[in-house]
Protein backbone atom coordinates (compact mmCIF):
# COMPACT_ATOMS: atom_id res chain seq x y z
CA UNK A 1 0.00 0.00 0.00
CA UNK A 2 1.13 3.54 -0.64
CA UNK A 3 2.30 5.17 2.60
CA UNK A 4 0.03 7.99 3.76
CA UNK A 5 1.00 11.50 2.71
CA UNK A 6 2.14 14.03 5.32
CA UNK A 7 -0.30 16.87 4.80
CA UNK A 8 1.10 20.38 5.24
CA UNK A 9 -0.07 22.09 8.46
CA UNK A 10 -1.44 25.06 6.53
CA UNK A 11 -3.79 22.79 4.60
CA UNK A 12 -4.88 21.00 7.77
CA UNK A 13 -5.51 24.29 9.55
CA UNK A 14 -7.34 25.60 6.51
CA UNK A 15 -9.56 22.53 6.21
CA UNK A 16 -10.75 22.45 9.78
CA UNK A 17 -11.17 26.19 10.06
CA UNK A 18 -13.20 26.10 6.84
CA UNK A 19 -15.37 23.39 8.41
CA UNK A 20 -15.94 25.45 11.56
CA UNK A 21 -16.58 28.62 9.57
CA UNK A 22 -19.07 26.76 7.39
CA UNK A 23 -20.95 25.50 10.42
CA UNK A 24 -21.05 29.01 11.91
CA UNK A 25 -22.24 30.50 8.61
CA UNK A 26 -24.94 27.87 8.24
CA UNK A 27 -26.22 28.38 11.78
CA UNK A 28 -26.28 32.18 11.40
CA UNK A 29 -28.10 32.05 8.08
CA UNK A 30 -30.62 29.54 9.40
CA UNK A 31 -31.50 31.74 12.35
CA UNK A 32 -31.77 34.72 9.97
CA UNK A 33 -34.05 32.94 7.51
CA UNK A 34 -36.33 31.21 10.01
CA UNK A 35 -38.38 34.20 11.26
CA UNK A 36 -38.65 35.55 7.72
CA UNK A 37 -40.07 32.28 6.46
CA UNK A 38 -42.58 32.18 9.31
CA UNK A 39 -43.64 35.76 8.59
CA UNK A 40 -44.07 34.85 4.93
CA UNK A 41 -46.17 31.83 5.84
CA UNK A 42 -48.34 33.94 8.13
CA UNK A 43 -48.89 36.57 5.44
CA UNK A 44 -49.68 33.89 2.87
CA UNK A 45 -52.21 32.27 5.21
CA UNK A 46 -53.95 35.60 5.83
CA UNK A 47 -54.05 36.35 2.12
CA UNK A 48 -55.51 32.93 1.43
CA UNK A 49 -58.17 33.45 4.08
CA UNK A 50 -59.11 36.79 2.54
CA UNK A 51 -59.33 35.29 -0.94
CA UNK A 52 -61.40 32.37 0.33
CA UNK A 53 -63.79 34.79 1.96
CA UNK A 54 -64.15 36.75 -1.28
CA UNK A 55 -64.72 33.56 -3.26
CA UNK A 56 -67.33 32.44 -0.79
CA UNK A 57 -69.20 35.73 -1.11
CA UNK A 58 -69.00 35.52 -4.87
CA UNK A 59 -70.29 31.97 -4.84
CA UNK A 60 -73.17 32.87 -2.60
CA UNK A 61 -74.07 35.82 -4.81
CA UNK A 62 -74.04 33.56 -7.85
CA UNK A 63 -76.35 31.09 -6.15
CA UNK A 64 -78.52 33.93 -4.93
CA UNK A 65 -78.17 32.56 -1.44
CA UNK A 66 -77.21 35.49 0.82
CA UNK A 67 -79.01 36.87 3.83
CA UNK A 68 -79.91 39.93 1.78
CA UNK A 69 -82.28 38.01 -0.46
Amino acid sequence: MVPPVQVSPLIKLGRYSALVLGMAYGAKRYSYLKPRAEEERRVAAEEKKRLDELKRIERELAEGDTILK
Binding site: V5, Y16, L19, G22, G26
Partner: protein, 103 residues
Protein backbone atom coordinates in the same frame (compact mmCIF):
# COMPACT_ATOMS: atom_id res chain seq x y z
CA UNK B 1 -46.75 -7.31 3.44
CA UNK B 2 -46.48 -9.68 6.39
CA UNK B 3 -44.61 -12.18 4.22
CA UNK B 4 -42.24 -9.44 3.11
CA UNK B 5 -41.47 -8.55 6.70
CA UNK B 6 -40.95 -12.19 7.61
CA UNK B 7 -38.59 -12.75 4.66
CA UNK B 8 -36.71 -9.60 5.50
CA UNK B 9 -36.38 -10.59 9.17
CA UNK B 10 -35.05 -14.00 8.11
CA UNK B 11 -32.55 -12.60 5.60
CA UNK B 12 -31.47 -9.50 7.54
CA UNK B 13 -28.75 -11.09 9.73
CA UNK B 14 -27.12 -12.67 6.67
CA UNK B 15 -27.21 -9.32 4.84
CA UNK B 16 -25.80 -7.48 7.81
CA UNK B 17 -22.93 -9.95 8.28
CA UNK B 18 -22.17 -9.85 4.54
CA UNK B 19 -22.04 -6.04 4.66
CA UNK B 20 -19.77 -6.14 7.70
CA UNK B 21 -17.31 -8.59 6.11
CA UNK B 22 -17.26 -6.44 2.97
CA UNK B 23 -16.71 -3.20 4.86
CA UNK B 24 -14.17 -4.29 7.46
CA UNK B 25 -10.96 -4.32 5.33
CA UNK B 26 -12.03 -1.16 3.51
CA UNK B 27 -12.70 0.62 6.79
CA UNK B 28 -9.27 -0.56 7.96
CA UNK B 29 -7.51 1.01 4.95
CA UNK B 30 -9.58 4.18 5.33
CA UNK B 31 -8.61 4.42 9.00
CA UNK B 32 -4.96 3.70 8.15
CA UNK B 33 -4.84 6.72 5.84
CA UNK B 34 -7.18 8.95 7.83
CA UNK B 35 -5.10 8.60 11.01
CA UNK B 36 -2.28 10.45 9.26
CA UNK B 37 -3.97 12.60 6.64
CA UNK B 38 -7.30 13.72 8.12
CA UNK B 39 -6.11 14.45 11.65
CA UNK B 40 -6.92 17.97 12.88
CA UNK B 41 -3.88 20.21 13.34
CA UNK B 42 -2.22 20.25 16.76
CA UNK B 43 -1.40 23.66 18.28
CA UNK B 44 2.29 22.89 17.72
CA UNK B 45 1.78 23.11 13.97
CA UNK B 46 0.45 26.66 13.94
CA UNK B 47 3.89 28.33 13.58
CA UNK B 48 4.62 26.16 10.53
CA UNK B 49 1.25 27.15 9.07
CA UNK B 50 1.93 30.86 9.65
CA UNK B 51 5.32 30.41 7.95
CA UNK B 52 3.56 28.96 4.88
CA UNK B 53 1.15 31.91 4.85
CA UNK B 54 4.11 34.32 4.99
CA UNK B 55 5.71 32.50 2.06
CA UNK B 56 2.52 32.77 0.03
CA UNK B 57 2.20 36.49 0.77
CA UNK B 58 5.87 36.92 -0.13
CA UNK B 59 5.40 35.20 -3.47
CA UNK B 60 2.38 37.40 -4.16
CA UNK B 61 4.35 40.57 -3.31
CA UNK B 62 7.43 39.75 -5.37
CA UNK B 63 5.42 38.32 -8.24
CA UNK B 64 7.29 35.00 -8.06
CA UNK B 65 3.99 33.14 -8.26
CA UNK B 66 4.17 33.74 -12.01
CA UNK B 67 7.11 31.31 -12.07
CA UNK B 68 4.92 28.41 -10.95
CA UNK B 69 4.46 25.61 -13.42
CA UNK B 70 0.97 24.95 -14.74
CA UNK B 71 0.96 21.61 -12.96
CA UNK B 72 1.65 23.28 -9.62
CA UNK B 73 -1.01 25.90 -10.31
CA UNK B 74 -3.56 23.19 -11.10
CA UNK B 75 -2.67 21.38 -7.88
CA UNK B 76 -3.09 24.60 -5.91
CA UNK B 77 -6.49 25.21 -7.43
CA UNK B 78 -7.49 21.62 -6.55
CA UNK B 79 -6.45 22.23 -2.95
CA UNK B 80 -8.49 25.45 -2.91
CA UNK B 81 -11.50 23.60 -4.28
CA UNK B 82 -11.14 20.99 -1.56
CA UNK B 83 -11.08 23.79 1.03
CA UNK B 84 -14.32 25.22 -0.39
CA UNK B 85 -15.91 21.77 -0.18
CA UNK B 86 -15.04 21.55 3.52
CA UNK B 87 -16.82 24.89 3.99
CA UNK B 88 -19.92 23.60 2.23
CA UNK B 89 -19.84 20.40 4.28
CA UNK B 90 -19.78 22.52 7.44
CA UNK B 91 -22.75 24.50 6.17
CA UNK B 92 -24.66 21.31 5.33
CA UNK B 93 -24.00 19.95 8.82
CA UNK B 94 -25.23 23.09 10.54
CA UNK B 95 -28.36 23.55 8.42
CA UNK B 96 -29.24 19.86 8.73
CA UNK B 97 -30.27 19.46 5.09
CA UNK B 98 -28.34 18.86 1.93
CA UNK B 99 -30.05 21.27 -0.45
CA UNK B 100 -31.71 24.38 0.92
CA UNK B 101 -32.62 25.60 4.37
CA UNK B 102 -35.51 23.78 5.96
CA UNK B 103 -37.27 26.79 7.52
Amino acid sequence: MARFIRNFAEKAPALVSAAVTYLKPRLATFWYYAKVELVPPTPAEIPAASQSVKKIIQSAKTGSFKQLTVKEAVLNSLVTTELRMWFYIGEIISKRGIVGYDV
